[in-house]
């Protein structure tokens, strides 16, 4: 069967709410409106207003309330209409949710899931296009996942809800409507994707491309293109988790391919690619590199609205293919 990412997320919520009375969903427009992006469609009808809660537009208050309910024993799923708006609530996510278990010497738990679309959508300009993977990924106490396809979406969201730690789920609006095949296993209500494990989406021998979220699709396209053109066989890794980062899988791949390109939609500096570079540098994979790691990222500008400008703001298949080709021609120590 095929399923859209939206339906996969919906199924995850549905199944986990059915399985555990303590799980509830709150957020702006999640109930009567069925979700700003319809992710929670039908859940209000099914679970009622006690468990699917429309909130006022007060991110910090909602988030604080959700965190408090987690401290007190519930398992909230706190939806942000987009992660941009969660900047108003980031103190609650970081200072309250992520740190309290530690500060209390383990006396207070915080089993909460924060979710919503992250990164750029189409034509929504600078205030609605930011990727928060690296920010949340830097915070001990949080786990951070970033699904790409429908299986990821369902399995990671379910894992997040079941995890007794605060988990940040970074979805992508542009993926909600995209359909992907679902394996038999993934249709089960017992299906979860382990947080912290990357997935090799395509095997290859000449270069490794690591990506998360929507960029995985571009990376795969680029890989198939390069293969078709007879240029190389690229291995594509879907990170799935931003924290913990599955460096092991990347290292193993790099040892085989000897080349690495990272891809993400966020800003370049202090980003996901930067961390991967640093970890590779510090690992045994480093000695296996035949070319320096190269980062493909969002451009270092606030997102412009106009379509022709916006096109330069985010990586696509063509950019990835170009960079991979260049990487194949590089050789460490060679001067070029």
């Amino acid at each position: 069967v095929e399923m859209t990412v939206r339906d996969a997320l919906n199924a995850a919520l549905d199944e986990e709410m059915a399985a555990d009375e303590k799980v509830y969903l709150l957020g702006e427009e999640v109930g009567q409106y069925n979700g700003a992006y319809k992710v929670s469609k039908g859940l209000l009808d099914k679970f009622g207003p006690k468990r699917v809660i429309d909130t006022p537009i007060t991110e910090s208050g909602i988030c604080g309330l959700a965190v408090g309910s987690a401290f007190a024993g519930l398992k909230p799923v706190c939806e942000f209409m987009t992660w941009n708006f969660a900047m108003q609530a980031i103190d609650q996510i970081v200072n309250s949710a992520a740190k309290t278990h530690y500060m209390s010497g383990g006396n207070v738990d915080c089993p909460i899931t924060f979710r919503g679309p992250n990164g750029a959508a189409a034509g929504v300009a600078a205030q609605h296009s930011q990727c928060f993977a690296a920010w949340y990924g830097s915070v001990p106490g949080l786990k951070v996942v970033s699904p790409w396809n429908s299986e990821d979406a369902k399995g990671l969201l379910k894992a997040a809800i079941r995890d007794p730690n605060p988990v940040v789920v970074l979805e992508n609006e542009l993926m909600y409507g995209v359909s992907f095949p679902m394996s038999e296993a993934s249709l089960s209500k017992d299906f979860v994707v382990e947080i912290g494990k990357a997935k090799i989406e395509k095997e290859g021998t000449d270069v490794t491309i690591v990506a998360h979220s929507r960029s995985v699709g571009f990376a795969l396209e680029a890989a198939y293109l390069l293969e078709k053109e007879g240029i190389c066989s690229a291995e594509v890794i879907n990170l799935r988790s931003i924290r913990p980062l599955d460096t092991e899988t990347i290292i193993k791949s790099v040892k085989k391919t000897n080349r690495l390109v990272t891809v993400e939609g966020g800003w370049p500096q202090y980003g996901v690619g930067s961390e991967i570079c640093a970890q590779i540098m510090e690992s045994e994979a480093f000695d296996h590199l035949d070319a320096p790691v190269v980062r493909v990222t969002g451009a270092d500008v606030p997102t412009p609205y106009a379509q022709n400008l916006e096109a330069f703001a985010f990586p696509d298949t063509e950019v990835i293919a170009r960079v991979v080709k260049r990487t194949l021609n590089k050789q460490i120590g060679a001067s070029n």
Partner: protein, 356 residues
């Protein structure tokens, strides 16, 4: 004379019900309202033709607010609002073609195509802000500046019924009162924040009373004259009388969906919208008032309507004729010209821009 129901007050006197407006001002208001509506209808069409991308929030139904306000302000006064900004941009000096150009993402757009629907600015209008509630303390800061500089100018800070619950609003109230800022907080209560009705989002829907220690007035926001009167009153209050902040609640209605992707009829009935349109439309209201009071004839109305349509059509053609922004503009305005960082990186190491 406007009806006594035009105002309800909280800890202050009501504005006078005796309205004195010059004929030319009335006509100008009518023209603005019609043009504004036409402009939004043009935007609606362009969006449906897929020429506008992303979000697009129309202000049809709410025209009396922007128009009535502007008629009471001078160019020195300041205004700020959220993302439902086309009408305000127009009233604050933005040309229709620059607004539609922005929506189309063109070079001649008022923000050079870089902001889109939600981000338009003029010299006395501070946008066009996309984060619900964030514009409210920003507006208090604009008011603070007027006081600091000794300018005799009021700052009008708009926010929605949904936004009215944001903590920042109360933080701004507190500072505005403590420091006696010339700030007028205007809650544009159009009854819904996206799909959530006011009473589902707000424990107190009498928004004009929510300033606690700040007096407030509820205004019939469908009547451009009532708006005009209230805004004059507020300006006097905060600038001439130096009485500090004031809250205005403009009771109004949004005809369209929240944004173009919202059909706008899942959380309210079609009848509800029809009823408002039929009984309370701000454009028709002013039209009837003009006709009843014999300020203008039916023919004059028709000719004003026609010329508004023509203006918008012309502006739309101009906007469409504009090219997209130059690609170099991708790199400008990240930092102020002359004070940039040495270079910025694009999507990969070999895509970059050097400023010096």
């Amino acid at each position: 004379r406007i009806p006594p129901e035009s105002f309800q007050t909280f800890k202050c006197e009501a504005p006078s019900l005796d309205v004195k407006v010059k004929k030319e001002d009335l006509l100008s208001m009518y023209k603005s309202m019609v043009a504004m509506r036409r402009m939004e209808m043009a935007a609606d069409g362009l969006y449906k033709a897929k020429l506008i991308r992303g979000f697009c929030h129309l202000c049809t139904g709410q025209e009396a607010v922007g128009v009535g306000m502007e008629a009471a302000l001078s160019e020195h006064d300041k205004v700020i609002t959220a993302y439902r900004s086309h009408g305000f941009t127009y009233m604050r000096g933005g040309t229709i073609s620059s607004i539609l150009g922005e929506l189309l993402g063109r070079k001649t757009g008022i923000s050079g195509g870089k902001g889109g629907s939600m981000h338009m600015f003029t010299s006395n209008f501070f946008g066009g802000n996309g984060i619900v509630g964030a514009q409210v303390p920003i507006g208090a800061g604009i008011a603070f500046t007027q006081k600091y500089l000794g300018n005799k100018a009021a700052t009008f800070i708009f926010y929605g019924d949904g936004a009215a619950n944001q903590g920042q609003v109360f933080e701004a109230f507190n500072m505005a009162k403590l420091w006696n800022l010339p700030a007028v907080f205007v809650c544009e209560n159009n009854k819904y924040g996206m799909g959530t009705s006011a009473s589902r989002s707000s424990a107190n829907t009498a928004y004009y009373t929510r300033g606690d220690y700040i007096p407030g007035i509820k205004v019939n926001g469908m009547d451009v004259l009532a708006v005009n009167q209230a805004v004059s009153y507020a300006k006097d209050w905060t600038v001439s009388a130096e009485k500090g902040p004031l809250v205005l609640e403009m009771e109004t209605y949004r005809y369209s969906g929240h944004s173009m992707s919202d059909p706008g009829i899942t959380y309210r009935s079609r009848e509800e919208i029809q009823d408002v349109r039929a009984a309370n439309d701000p454009v028709s209201g002013l039209k009837e008032c003009l006709l009843e009071n014999k300020v203008v004839s039916e023919d004059e109305i028709k000719s004003m309507d026609k010329s508004a349509r023509a203006r918008v059509d012309k502006a739309m053609e101009e906007a469409k004729a504009s090219p997209q922004p130059d690609i170099e503009e991708f790199w400008t305005h990240v930092y102020k010209k002359g004070y940039e960082v040495p270079f910025l990186r694009g999507r990969e190491p070999e895509e970059f821009h050097r400023y010096r």
